[in-house]
C-alpha cells in the first residue's frame, strides 16, 4: 500500500490517498465530513425503521411487522436516531466549524479525533447486525428499562456494548472540543468574543463529560445484572428497577439538551447573517445556554411521574422543568428581536432556521404541558409525548442541522447548492413533518399508547394521515442527498462570501472553499462589539 509508505516521510501536505486517507486522517475537516456522512447514513437507517413503523400503523391490525419485530423497530429507531444520527451530526459540525471559527489550525488532539470517529461505525454495525442474531434486536424501547432489558437475548448485549462504544466516542469527542475551545482560540479572542455556535458546543461538551460516564455506568450495571449475578435492578435479588430509571434519566435529560444546544448555536449564527444585524442579546444568549445546561441536570424525574414518587418530589421536578422555559424563552425572544427591522432575505438556511424557531416553540410548549404532573399522568407513554419530542428533535435538532448544512456547504465544498431545490426541500419537509406529527398530538390526547403495533379503530384516520406524512417526509429527504451530491460535483465555484451578513472568522479570514490546512498562523482577531 503506497499510502502507508507516503506517511512515513513526515508531516507535510502529503497525505495518503484513496481509502487510507480516510482511515488514517487526523484532519478536522476530513473527520468532520466523515461524521456528517456517517450520520446521514444512520439518518436513513433510522428513517427506514421509522417508515417500517408507520407502514405497520397505516391501518389497524397486524400487516407487515410481527409485534416483537415492531418493538425492535421502535427501539432501534430511537437508539440509531439519537446516538447515530443527531449526536454525530453535531460533532461533525463541531469538527468542521469550531477550529475555523476560533482561528485554530485543527482540533487539540487530532489522533484521538480519528479514534472517536472510527468507533462509531463499529457501534453502528453492532446495532444494525443485532437484528440478525437469534432472539432479534433489543425490543424494550430505546430507554432499555429493566426488567425487559435484563431479560432479552444476545441482541440486548450487542446494544449494551454499542452504547459503551458510543459513550467512549462521545467522551473523547467532548474532551477534544473543550480543550480546543479553551486553549486554541486566536490571540485576542476572549470567551465572550466567541461565536455562539462555539459557546453552545463548549457547554454541550461539558454536559457530555458530565453525563455520558453515568450512562456507561448504567449499562455496565445492566450487563453485570444480566451475566455476573449482581442485582442492581433485579427486585428478586433486592435491587430496584426504578433505580435504573433514576440513573438513566440523570443521563437522559441532559442528553436531550446535548442534542438541542448545538442546534441553538447554529440558528444563532444563521439568523443574524440573513437579518444582516448582529445577534440581539449576545451575553444573555450565553447565560441562557448555561442556565439551560445547569437546570437540565435537576429535572430528570419528570420522565417518571407515574413510577411512584412523593408529591413533594413531583412538585419539585414539575417546577424545575417549567423553569427551563424561561432561559429558552429568552433565546426565542432574542432570535425574534434579531430579525426585527433587519434587512432579511430568505435563502434555504434562513428558511430552515425560521422553521426551526416556529416548530421548536410548539415542541417547547407541549413540553411545558407535559411537565404539569396531572396532565403528564394522563399523557404518559402516549402519542402526545411522541409528538412532543419529535417536534423538538426533528423540527428542532434536525432542521437546525439542515440549516447549518446549507449555510456552510459553500464554505466546505467551494460550490453553491441549488437554491431552488433547497427551498423545495424545506417546504416539503415543513409540510410533511407537520402532517406526520401534528396529528399525533390528537392521537395521544385521545389515549393512543406508544410502542404498540396495533390500535383501536377510533385511531385509524389520524394514523393513516400520519403515515402518509411520514412517507412524504422520508422521500423528501432523498432530495437533500441529491442536493448535496449535486453541490459537491458542481463545476461552478461559489462566491468567496455568498452570505454578505456573515461575520465569523471562517467567512472573513478564509478563502472559499476552506483550504485543507487553515489558520496554521493564527489570524489577527478584532472583536466585534456585541
Amino acid at each position: 500500500m503506497a499510502a502507508v509508505h507516503g506517511d512515513v516521510h513526515g508531516h507535510d501536505d502529503h497525505h495518503p490517498s484513496g481509502i487510507m486517507r480516510w482511515v488514517m486522517t487526523t484532519n478536522h475537516k476530513d473527520i468532520g465530513s466523515m461524521y456528517l456522512w456517517f450520520s446521514l447514513t444512520m439518518f436513513f437507517t433510522g428513517g427506514f425503521l421509522a417508515l417500517g413503523i408507520r407502514a405497520e400503523l397505516f391501518q389497524p391490525g397486524i400487516q407487515i411487522l410481527e409485534p416483537e419485530l415492531f418493538n425492535s423497530f421502535t427501539t432501534l429507531h430511537g437508539l440509531i436516531m439519537v446516538f447515530g444520527a443527531i449526536m454525530p451530526a453535531f460533532v461533525g459540525f463541531a469538527n468542521w466549524q469550531v477550529p475555523m471559527m476560533i482561528g485554530a489550525p485543527d482540533m487539540a488532539f487530532a489522533r484521538m479525533n480519528n479514534w472517536s470517529f472510527w468507533l462509531l461505525p463499529v457501534a453502528a454495525s453492532l446495532l444494525v447486525s443485532s437484528f440478525f442474531v437469534p432472539g432479534g434486536a433489543a425490543a424494550g424501547g430505546w430507554t432499555f428499562y429493566p426488567p425487559l432489558s435484563t431479560q432479552g437475548g444476545l441482541g440486548v448485549d450487542m446494544m449494551i456494548f454499542a452504547v459503551h462504544i458510543l459513550g467512549a466516542s462521545s467522551i473523547m469527542g467532548a474532551i477534544n472540543i473543550i480543550t480546543t475551545i479553551l486553549n486554541m482560540r486566536a490571540p485576542g479572542m476572549k470567551l465572550m468574543d466567541m461565536p455562539l455556535f462555539v459557546w453552545t458546543w463548549l457547554i454541550t461538551a461539558y454536559l457530555l463529560v458530565l453525563v455520558m460516564p453515568v450512562l456507561a455506568g448504567t449499562v455496565t450495571m445492566l450487563l453485570t445484572d444480566r451475566h455476573f449475578g449482581t442485582s442492581f435492578f433485579n427486585a428478586a435479588g433486592g435491587g430496584d428497577p426504578v433505580l435504573f430509571q433514576h440513573i438513566f434519566w440523570f443521563f437522559g435529560h441532559p442528553e436531550v439538551y446535548i442534542m438541542i444546544l448545538p442546534a441553538f448555536g447554529i440558528v444563532s449564527e444563521i439568523i443574524p447573517t440573513f437579518s444582516r444585524k448582529p445577534l440581539f442579546g449576545y451575553s444573555s444568549m450565553v447565560y441562557a445556554t448555561a442556565s439551560i445546561a445547569i437546570l437540565s441536570c435537576v429535572v430528570w424525574a419528570h420522565h417518571m411521574f407515574t413510577a411512584g414518587m412523593p408529591t413533594v418530589g413531583q412538585l419539585f421536578f414539575m417546577y424545575a422543568t417549567m423553569l427551563i422555559a424561561v432561559p429558552t424563552g429568552v433565546k426565542v425572544f432574542n432570535w425574534t428581536a434579531t430579525m426585527w427591522q433587519g434587512s432579511m432575505t430568505f435563502e434555504t438556511p434562513m428558511l430552515f432556521a425560521i422553521g426551526f424557531i416556529f416548530l421548536f416553540v410548539i415542541g417547547g410548549f407541549s413540553g411545558v404541558i407535559c411537565a404539569i404532573v396531572p396532565i403528564d399522568i394522563q399523557v404518559q407513554d402516549t402519542y402526545y409525548v411522541i409528538a412532543h419530542f419529535h417536534y423538538v428533535l426533528v423540527s428542532g435538532a434536525l432542521f437546525a442541522l439542515f440549516a447549518g448544512a446549507y449555510y456552510w456547504l459553500p464554505k466546505w465544498t467551494g460550490h453553491m447548492y441549488d437554491e431552488t431545490l433547497g427551498k423545495w426541500h424545506f417546504w416539503l419537509s415543513m409540510i410533511f413533518f407537520n402532517v406526520t406529527f401534528f396529528v399525533q398530538h390528537f392521537l395521544g390526547l385521545a389515549g393512543m399508547p406508544r410502542r404498540i403495533p396495533d390500535y383501536a379503530l377510533q385511531f385509524a384516520d389520524f394514523n393513516m394521515i400520519s403515515s402518509i406524512g411520514a412517507f412524504g417526509f422520508g422521500t423528501s429527504q432523498l432530495l437533500f442527498v441529491y442536493i448535496v451530491i449535486k453541490c459537491i460535483r458542481s463545476k461552478e465555484a461559489a462566491p468567496e462570501k455568498p452570505w454578505d451578513g456573515a461575520t465569523t472568522l471562517e467567512w472573513t479570514h478564509l478563502p472559499t472553499p476552506a483550504p485543507y490546512h487553515s489558520f496554521e498562523k493564527p489570524p489577527v482577531f478584532k472583536p466585534v462589539s456585541h
Binding site: 487539540a108 488532539f109 467522551i171 467532548a174 474532551i175 473543550i178 480543550t179 479553551l182 486553549n183 486554541m184 463529560v209 458530565l210 453525563v211 455520558m212 460516564p213 453515568v214 450512562l215 456507561a216 455506568g217 448504567t218 450495571m221 449475578g229 449482581t230 442485582s231 442492581f232 427486585a235 428478586a236 435479588g237 433486592g238 430496584d240 426504578v242 433505580l243 433514576h246 440513573i247 440523570f250 412523593p310
Partner: protein, 183 residues
C-alpha cells in the same frame, strides 16, 4: 518552545477531563447506595424494615376488614402457602398469621420474599412488626418452616375498603449475593 508548551497545556487539560469522566462513572455507581439511603430516610419503598408499634392504637370496632393472603414462588422448588386463606378483624387490631414453606429439593436454597399489596397504596395503612420477608430464609433439603407475619391495619384505611390482599413472592437468591435486608 511555545509549541511544546501548548501541547503540555492541552495534555494537562485532557488528564483533568479524563479524571472528571472517571469520577462521573463512579458517581453513577454512588447513586445506588444514595438512592437506597434516600428511600430509607424518606420512608419510600420500605418493604423490609419492621414498623414501630404506636403506643396507643385505637381499635375501630365499628367496621370490619377482610385480609386475604396469597403466596407465590418464582423459580425455586419450594412449596409456600399461608395457613389461613383470609382473616376478618377490626382496623387497629394487631393480628398474626402463619405461612409455611417447604423445600422439596435436595439442596440448600436461600430465598427472599418480596411483598405486594392490593390495593397498591395499602402500605400507607399497613404496619408490620414481624415478617419472614425482613430477612432471607435459608432452607435445608426437605426442611419445612412455619413463619409468622404480625401486622395491624390502621384506622386511616378509607371507609369504602372492606377486602384487602397481602401477597408474598419468594425469589431464589443466587449463592453469594446478599439479601436486601443485609445491605
Amino acid at each position: 518552545m511555545a509549541q511544546s508548551n501548548k501541547i503540555e497545556i492541552n495534555q494537562t487539560m485532557m488528564k483533568k477531563l479524563l479524571i472528571f469522566s472517571v469520577v462521573m462513572f463512579v458517581f453513577g455507581y454512588a447513586m445506588v447506595p444514595f438512592y437506597e439511603k434516600f428511600c430509607e430516610v424518606a420512608g419510600i419503598n420500605n418493604l423490609l424494615q419492621p414498623d414501630k408499634l404506636a403506643k396507643t392504637m385505637e381499635v375501630d370496632t365499628n367496621r370490619w376488614v377482610t385480609v386475604e393472603f396469597d403466596a407465590n414462588t418464582r423459580g425455586l422448588p419450594w412449596d409456600f402457602k399461608p395457613l389461613q386463606r383470609s382473616i376478618k378483624f377490626h382496623p387497629g387490631e394487631p393480628v398474626e398469621v402463619m405461612y409455611e414453606i417447604t423445600n422439596h429439593s435436595d439442596r440448600e436454597i436461600t430465598g427472599q420474599a418480596i411483598p405486594s399489596y392490593s390495593p397498591r397504596f395499602l402500605d400507607k395503612h399497613l404496619r408490620k412488626f414481624e415478617c419472614f420477608c425482613f430477612t432471607r430464609q435459608v432452607l435445608k433439603p426437605k426442611e419445612t418452616r412455619v413463619m409468622p407475619v404480625q401486622f395491624v391495619i390502621e384506622q386511616s384505611l378509607p371507609e369504602h375498603l372492606h377486602t384487602l390482599t397481602i401477597s408474598y413472592t419468594f425469589f431464589e437468591l443466587p449463592v453469594g449475593s446478599k439479601a436486601v435486608s443485609e445491605k
